[in-house]
């Protein structure tokens, strides 16, 4: 039935439709050609991991009281993009026997406020939403989803080092 004019198949697309499809296709190619790189450009730095891992010296190990988390503060340089900023890193170091050390961050795992060790109560407290953490960093009460972040610790010549980044 459709065989009267075999070449009609190609001619059935009108000039108008051909131009419309052509314009849309070229526009689509340009749109994707700009759109995809733009997306990569926008999310680029968000996906780059903080790859540099380094041991940071935080101070003398003999200053840590046995059984009491002791606060150490160190200034570190952080390079983000084109900008170098000085940052203060605060960690609580704990030892029960004077030779094995653990270090936890003072950043509350709930929403990032700073927790404080309260001597009389022997717990960490966060002032923002009443989070309570135990001596070892485990959650005791309040909204935090996970324990305080732990840093790997090493001692060399009585100096404490923690591993940050990565």
């Amino acid at each position: 039935m459709e065989e009267q004019k075999p070449t009609e198949g190609q001619a059935s697309i009108s000039r108008r439709n051909f131009l419309a499809i052509g314009t849309l296709s070229i526009g689509g190619v340009i749109g994707v050609g700009i759109g995809l790189p733009s997306l990569v450009y926008l999310v680029g730095p968000s996906l780059q991991a903080n790859a540099v891992q380094e041991w940071i010296r935080i101070g003398s190990a003999s200053k840590v009281e046995i059984g009491v988390p002791t606060l150490y503060k160190v200034k570190t340089e952080r390079r983000v993009g084109w900008n170098v900023t000085e940052e203060e890193l605060a960690v609580y170091v704990l030892t029960e026997n004077g030779s094995d050390f653990t270090a936890v961050s003072n950043i509350c795992t709930h929403l990032g406020c700073r927790v404080r060790w309260i001597d009389g109560k022997d717990q960490f407290f966060c002032p923002c939403h009443n989070a309570v953490f135990a001596k070892n960093g485990e959650v005791v009460a309040g909204p935090p989803p996970k324990p305080l972040e732990k840093y790997p610790v090493k001692v060399e010549n009585d100096q404490l080092y923690i591993l940050v980044g990565g």
């Binding site: 700009i34 790189p37 733009s38 990569v40 450009y41 680029g44 993009g81 084109w82 900008n83």
Partner: protein, 219 residues
């Protein structure tokens, strides 16, 4: 499905008649020179997109401008492409606008009833050159610094008011942080808004008056 949504929106917004007025209007038999205006428009849109993307990372201060541009070009994925498009697009804008203007001149398309289209076009060309002049300083490298030193000095040659113009452009006697931020402000706020307003009028008039046919001999 697409057409049902289209009808639903059209019943409330009447976009089909707007679409028809813009894209389905009658045009005389023309040639490829008539695409130069559209090419300029396309490049302008590209400049807007890439320009907005650049402001996501660019910092207009003397201590960070150069570093942030280097970061965009060398560290950021696709940053070289976005900056490259904006860089070359800037030259394309000037070239295409001028070619577009030449076509209008040679075909006498500026005559009645299209004088206002012509006036806005002339101001648009000045705006485009303003974009080029202010944008050139933003990378804050040696070439940018000295080109703007020279450029503002040229403006300073004008009789009587020259020195005042020079100081106003630089925001003081010398090129400084003030110069950089004001060039940035003009480049991303003042000129784009001016461009959009003028482009709106320009395009409205092109659609409202239709485009002129190629002139024939003896007419």
């Amino acid at each position: 499905m697409g057409s049902r949504i289209g009808i639903w929106i059209d019943e409330r917004a009447g976009w089909r008649s707007v679409w028809g007025a813009i894209f389905l209007r009658k045009i005389p038999k023309v040639n490829w020179f008539y695409t130069l205006g559209s090419a300029t428009l396309f490049t302008a849109m590209l400049q807007m997109i890439t320009g907005i993307l650049l402001t996501i990372y660019y910092v207009p201060t003397p201590d960070q401008a150069y570093e942030s541009v280097q970061y965009i070009t060398t560290q950021l994925p696709m940053g070289w492409l976005i900056r490259g498009l904006h860089h070359w697009g800037a030259s394309a804008m000037v070239i295409l606008s001028v070619l577009h203007m030449l076509r209008v001149i040679f075909y006498g398309a500026y005559k009645f009833p299209r004088e206002i289209t012509w006036f806005t076009g002339v101001i648009l060309l000045i705006v485009v050159i303003g974009f080029g002049f202010t944008g050139y300083l933003l990378p804050w490298d040696q070439k940018a610094f000295w080109a703007t030193t020279v450029g503002t000095r040229i403006a300073g040659v004008a009789p009587l008011v020259g020195d005042t113009i020079l100081k106003v452009m630089r925001g003081g006697e010398e090129l400084s942080a003030i110069t950089l931020v004001r060039f940035f402000g003009v480049h991303v706020w003042v000129l784009p808004i001016t461009l959009l307003i003028l482009m709106g009028i320009h395009l409205y008039l092109v659609i409202r008056n239709g485009i002129s046919a190629i002139p024939t001999k003896g007419k």
